[in-house]
């Protein structure tokens, strides 16, 4: 730590302003009712009515069945609770707290009630009752992404991007800040702007869809993800990176000579880290480091069906191999450990594996037996726990 220069300038200005105010407020007096102490109306914990604050992340898995059954599995206690029954569900997406489900009756947004707020050198961990927060009159497939204040929902079936007030959503209220007509592949909030990726490229827009700044070329965008550095969009020519609402969009091209059959179509990694991973055709995986602005193709001994970057000190990567094994790899592609081919049956049925990564574990649903495997990626892909959660769609929340 360094001791900073005392802030004499602002202090002087402060004193001057306060003195000026004081000379004018000598007679200031109060007609307000007394509000001393901790009244019964004050909520001692948390920003959100009904939420409690905790010492550690309130990690959980939200499982959504094809039949619409929503279950929350608490990863700290292993207790399960039924949250809701939705209409028939085709597909889901999640932002770390809210799970959006594309159903026969529109888009349902489930509030898991578990979330983390980062605050500089520390974080706050919250827990509230899970519930259905909203049902939107729109058609999926759905994508959902949030900042602290704004949640953006992409309704691909109805070609709409719906901008919601996130604080209100957390109270079970739907406040639409905007609705944009767009056939978007992804729409992710960035400050007061929204990054929009569609066939016309990548651009930043306001809540009404008005263009802010210069768009960037992006042929056939396929996926986008928020990293520690900004928002990365996967395009045919490489990645487009948006770091701030008032900063120019940056291009991170693939290395010269990249085989088009290897280019990334999905990005996945631990939330809040600079690097994300993508399957690199049958060669191995890509690591996109948004801090260094580099793509690195890492060959693996086995082709991969899905991959997620952990981006910890040891550069761990978790992958589902096409042979059904879950692999713990490092950033050079070296295999550190593997499970048995636990996903072989699911892969044979044409299902795409998913991997959720947090600071110590990865969660991989075994779609065919009603369990989720908790993988200790730092310990040679050891299966730490086999968790009962029978659901077609699984998202980790509370991170």
């Amino acid at each position: 730590m360094t001791r900073s220069i005392p802030r004499t300038t602002s202090r002087a200005a402060h004193v001057a302003a306060v003195a000026a105010a004081a000379s004018l407020t000598l007679v200031a007096c109060s007609a307000q009712p007394p509000g001393g102490g901790a009244s019964a109306e004050s909520t001692p914990h948390g920003y959100v009515a009904g939420a409690s604050e905790h010492e550690e992340p309130q990690l959980g898995l939200v499982g959504v069945g094809d039949d619409g059954a929503v279950t929350m599995l608490d990863l700290l206690t292993e207790e399960s609770a039924e949250v809701a029954g939705l209409a028939f569900v085709q597909q889901t997406d999640a932002d770390g707290r809210f799970v959006a489900a594309s159903t026969d009756d529109g888009i349902a947004i489930v509030d898991s009630g578990a979330w983390t707020v980062e605050h500089g050198d520390h974080s706050h961990y919250y827990r509230a009752e899970p519930r259905v927060a909203a049902t939107l009159d729109a058609t999926g497939p759905v994508r959902i992404a949030s900042t602290e204040t704004v949640t953006v929902v992409v309704a691909s079936g109805s070609d709409e991007v719906i901008v919601l007030d996130r604080a209100d959503l957390g109270q079970g209220e739907v406040t639409e800040l905007g609705r944009i007509d767009a056939d978007a592949v992804a729409a992710i909030p960035l400050g007061d702007a929204i990054l929009l990726a569609d066939d016309a490229g990548v651009r930043l827009v306001d809540h009404a869809g008005e263009k802010l700044g210069e768009p960037a070329t992006c042929t056939s965008p396929t996926d986008a993800m928020t990293t520690r550095v900004g928002i990365a969009v996967a395009c045919a020519e490489g990645a487009v990176l948006a770091t701030a609402e008032d900063a120019p969009l940056e291009a991170i091209p693939y290395p010269a000579g990249t085989d088009p059959s290897t280019i990334a179509t999905t990005l996945d990694g631990r939330p809040g880290r600079p690097s994300v991973a993508a399957v690199g055709g049958t060669v191995g995986f890509w690591l996109l480091d948004t801090r260094e602005r580099t793509w690195t193709l890492v060959p693996t001994p086995t082709p991969l069906a899905h991959v997620a970057a952990v981006d910890d000190a040891d550069g761990h990567v978790v992958a589902a191999a096409t042979d059904g094994r879950i692999l713990a790899l490092d950033a050079t592609g070296a295999q550190l450990g593997a499970t048995e081919p636990v996903l072989a049956a699911a892969l044979a049925r044409g299902l795409t594996p998913t991997i959720e990564v947090d600071a110590s574990r990865a969660y991989v649903p075994v779609a065919t037996d009603g369990t989720v495997l908790e993988i200790d990626y730092a310990d040679a892909a050891r299966i730490a726990r086999t968790l009962p959660l029978a659901a077609a769609h699984v998202a980790e929340v509370g991170r």
């Binding site: 730590m1 360094t2 105010a21 007096c29 509000g35 500089g120």
Partner: protein, 304 residues
């Protein structure tokens, strides 16, 4: 931007004051001084005694970053003679209320303006460290500033009584500082190490020459089925620090001790410290002086 806001507030308050002269309600209808954090509330109470009503917004045993206030309390802020806040970004949940009070012409004194500010820096963030009270010499500077601001803004306050109380409190804080320095000195430099996941002891470390070793405490999902690899980082930190104590907030301290013993062969104790909030009376840290004394005793007891 803050300066502009204050200037505008001053102009606005001039208009308000002119109009409010005739319609002045008795001061007894609301608190004259509203304080955000309970640590500062305790100090302001010590300075003004029974002279005027002081309202502290932050309840005991709560988190200054995230507590909320009622509409009634927010209104009380706008009707006060003076609002005392920590500043430096500590009271995130109160920013809008402090700004509203400021816009209503209420003078705001931020303790952070009187502090020799440390900066924190992590891999992903940096900024001013708002937890200055862990160094009593910073509290002494804040008492000086509070004395001046209270005398200036709280109409009718007995300045001589205030000065007497401030002198007495400064003496208490100086004695606290001397006691802590003497107690920590007995530990020797190699034992003045805090292995901790607390983020509030930067100022204490700076003042008393402690080394802080940041520790990531495994959470419940990790402790459910751990292996040695889960404890590597923490065990390395403990071994490097060469002290058998973890000053940590953990929801499962006993499980953590057990796992560290089983998986890393480490025999440690887990101690908690008071950090950002006073307790209820009898809770061990009902006042600032009690909080600091209790932490000093726990640290010396654990490391000595």
């Amino acid at each position: 931007m803050r300066r502009t806001a204050r200037t505008l507030a001053a102009i606005a308050s001039a208009a308000l004051a002119a109009g409010a002269l005739a319609a002045c309600a008795p001061a007894s209808e609301g608190p004259r001084i509203v304080v955000t954090t309970n640590i500062l509330g305790d100090v302001v109470d010590a300075l003004v005694g029974d002279q005027v009503e002081v309202a502290t917004l932050m309840p005991p045993n709560s988190d200054p970053h995230s507590f909320e206030i009622s509409a009634q309390q927010a209104a009380a802020m706008e009707g006060a003679d003076l609002v005392v806040a920590n500043g430096l970004g500590l009271e995130e949940g109160l920013t809008q209320h402090v700004e509203a009070a400021e816009a209503a012409g209420v003078p705001i004194v931020e303790a952070g303006d009187a502090v020799d500010v440390l900066e924190y820096a992590t891999e992903d963030a940096s900024g001013p460290d708002p937890h200055w009270w862990t160094d009593p010499t910073q509290m002494r500077s804040v008492v000086d500033a509070l004395e001046a601001e209270l005398a200036e803004h709280v109409d009718g306050i007995d300045v001589a009584g205030l000065a007497e109380a401030a002198d007495a409190y400064r003496a208490d804080v100086e004695a606290l500082d001397a006691d802590l320095a003497a107690a920590f000195e007995t530990l020797g430099p190699e034992r003045r190490v805090l292995v901790t996941n607390h983020h509030v002891f930067g100022y204490l470390a700076e003042r008393y020459d402690f080394r802080i070793v940041g520790a990531v405490i495994p959470g419940g999902s990790t402790l459910a089925a751990p292996s040695a690899s889960d404890l590597d980082e923490l065990a390395d930190a403990i071994r490097e620090a060469a002290v058998p104590v973890l000053f940590a907030e953990s929801s499962q301290p006993d499980r953590l001790i057990q796992v560290l013993a089983e998986e890393a062969g480490l025999d440690v104790r887990v101690e908690s410290l008071f950090t950002e909030s006073l307790t209820e009376p009898g809770g061990g840290a009902a006042t600032y002086l009690e909080l600091m004394t209790a932490n000093g005793e726990r640290i010396v007891d654990a490391l000595g």
